[in-house]
């Protein structure tokens, strides 16, 4: 697979403050790549550098093997949905789309606009000013605008921010549809962990300008390739004793106990060995199973570790 986004040793400073710090990653064609991080982590700055809106202080960023800051034509293969939708409130939905269709040099713009209005279900209100639309409708129209010219890559900045659950679901379905049916590469800036887990194939977790985790969602929720094993104890009060026994055994990591449930990553021990250790130590076991962690747990763990590294 060819990398359509390449970022190497990327750094960006504003007035001596390092906002993006030595970031390296790549995104392959057809991927839905999630770029996660809290507010101020440097997500939007990275995206702006990729889009050629900001110049990097160090390193480089290439999209479709081009620097979008200088390559006007390459920007024609990229779609963008910023937080503000990029729409003109006094123009109608159709006028907005036709304007961008003409800017991108689309042949027969009216046909393409009608197609997109139907795709987003906005054809009935196509002649009304966008200023009268709900937040969800504007978002839909913003997505239609971003994919108007059938770009190879689409950048989304917090696409479901401020939307109600129904509209969030609709936007997620649209993005998944673009990736699966149209084969578009999607770069998704978000701090909505549930959304990222549902639609992204790979994620980078950013903290204070640095990438703290970079892997497929599948690997991350499985504990970086290691199995996460959860044992439910017969006596919920025996958690501390169980952690002591397992910690001294070796072959396990990330052992923690909460409400009678002990979770751990299996490094070299097998599940039956874990149960034997506990039973031989006089601790009863009700249930034991492999379990995937949620992206939220991974994210919070990465954030805690990153905060620890910083302090």
């Amino acid at each position: 697979m060819a990398a359509v986004i390449e970022v190497s040793s990327l750094g960006k400073e504003f007035g001596g403050r390092r906002v993006v710090d030595n970031i390296t990653f790549s995104v392959e064609k057809g991927e839905v790549f999630g770029y996660l991080g809290p507010n101020g982590a440097g997500k939007t700055t990275t995206m702006r550098i990729l889009l050629g809106l900001l110049a990097p202080t160090s390193g480089f960023a290439r999209v479709l093997a081009s620097d979008l800051a200088v390559d006007d034509r390459a920007r024609g293969d990229v779609g963008v949905l910023m937080e503000n939708n990029g729409l003109y409130e006094r123009l109608s939905a159709r006028e907005n789309l036709e304007y961008f269709a003409r800017l991108y040099g689309i042949e027969r713009p009216k046909d393409r606009v009608s197609e997109l209005l139907e795709f987003t279900g906005l054809q009935d209100r196509s002649s009304e000013p966008v200023g009268t639309f709900s937040t969800g409708m504007k978002r839909k129209l913003g997505i239609a605008r971003a994919i108007m010219h059938e770009p190879e890559i689409v950048f989304f900045d917090e696409p479901t921010s401020g939307l109600d659950p129904e509209a969030q679901h609709m936007v997620r379905e649209l993005i998944l549809d673009l990736s699966k049916r149209e084969g578009m590469t999607v770069f998704l800036n978000s701090h909505n962990l549930d959304e990222v887990q549902r639609i992204c194939t790979r994620v980078a977790i950013l903290h204070r300008g640095r990438i703290r985790a970079l892997d497929s969602v599948r690997n991350l929720v499985r504990g970086g390739g290691k199995s996460v094993y959860v044992v439910t104890l017969a006596d919920p009060a025996a958690g501390t004793a169980a952690v002591d026994i397992l910690s001294s055994a070796g072959g396990l990591s990330e052992i923690s106990a909460e409400d009678g449930r002990v979770s751990m990553s299996l490094d070299s021990l097998q599940p039956h060995e874990v149960i034997s250790l506990l039973v031989n130590g006089g601790i009863g076991v009700d249930e034991a199973r492999r379990e995937a962690r949620s992206l939220e747990e991974i994210y919070l763990g990465v954030m805690r570790q990153a905060e620890g590294d910083v302090s």
Binding site: L54, V80, N84, L87, L91, Y99, G105, R145
Partner: protein
């Protein structure tokens, strides 16, 4: 060039939808063109044709530039305030094409308004004097060619500054422009003096000045960068 025309057409279309701004511009032109000009004509002992020429020479130009200033607020500043310009910067258009398209989109309606101001001044002035007073040929050329060129120069320079500066600096700029234009309307005739007459040479000189401003601003757009615009967007 296609991109420039697409942007220009959209700006004109959007300005026509901006009722508040359009009404403000038309009112300004009707009030100053219909009242200030004829008042000066009525209060002057000089040759009416010469006074009319003077009025049309500077008042139409100032009113046209003022209309352009009003429109730059909609075309450049509002787009920046709302953050839509960031999306526009991601299209295949160059920064100069975007800037030029917007300037053309301002020049067309502002020129129409300046022509309207000329007609008002001539009609009301003639009514005040009791006889039809036609402007001289150099003044007609000035209105048809130099005024649009100056509108372009003004719109280009103000739009460039609005893209370059942050929101607070833009507020200061707005005050400076408003006071500058009011000063021009109030004192230009006094500065020119009663003996000033509009000749072909004067018209050529003013046209050259407009061309210099346009070329200078086009050159200045090289210092304008996507980063400068994005980093001066409001939070």
């Amino acid at each position: 060039m296609r991109g420039v025309l697409v942007v220009a057409e959209k700006e004109i279309w959007q300005l026509l939808r901006s009722k508040n701004v359009l009404v403000s511009a038309v009112l300004f032109i009707v009030i100053f063109g219909g009242m200030t000009g004829p008042a000066m004509l009525a209060g002057s002992d000089a040759d009416p044709v010469q006074v009319m020429d003077q009025l049309l020479f500077y008042l139409v130009l100032v009113l046209g530039v003022f209309s352009a200033y009003l429109f730059t607020g909609q075309v450049f500043l509002r787009e920046k305030q709302e953050g839509v310009v960031e999306t526009l910067l991601c299209t295949p258009l160059s920064l100069r094409e975007i800037w030029l398209g917007k300037v053309v989109g301002i020049v067309v309606p502002a020129t129409v308004l300046s022509y309207l101001a000329s007609v008002i001044i001539v009609l009301v002035g003639s009514a005040v004097l009791g006889t039809t007073v036609w402007p001289s040929p150099p003044v007609i050329l000035h209105i048809l060619v130099v005024v649009p060129a100056f509108i372009g120069a003004g719109a280009g320079l103000i739009g460039f500054a609005q893209l370059l500066l942050g929101m607070r600096e833009n507020q200061v700029l707005n005050f400076a422009i408003i006071f500058g234009l009011i000063f021009l309307i109030s004192f230009t005739q006094a500065i020119l003096g009663p003996s000033f007459s509009v000749t072909w040479g004067v018209v050529a000189a003013v046209l050259a000045l407009a061309a210099v401003i346009i070329m200078g601003t086009a050159w200045l757009t090289r210092v304008l960068s996507r980063e400068r615009i994005v980093t001066t967007l409001p939070d």
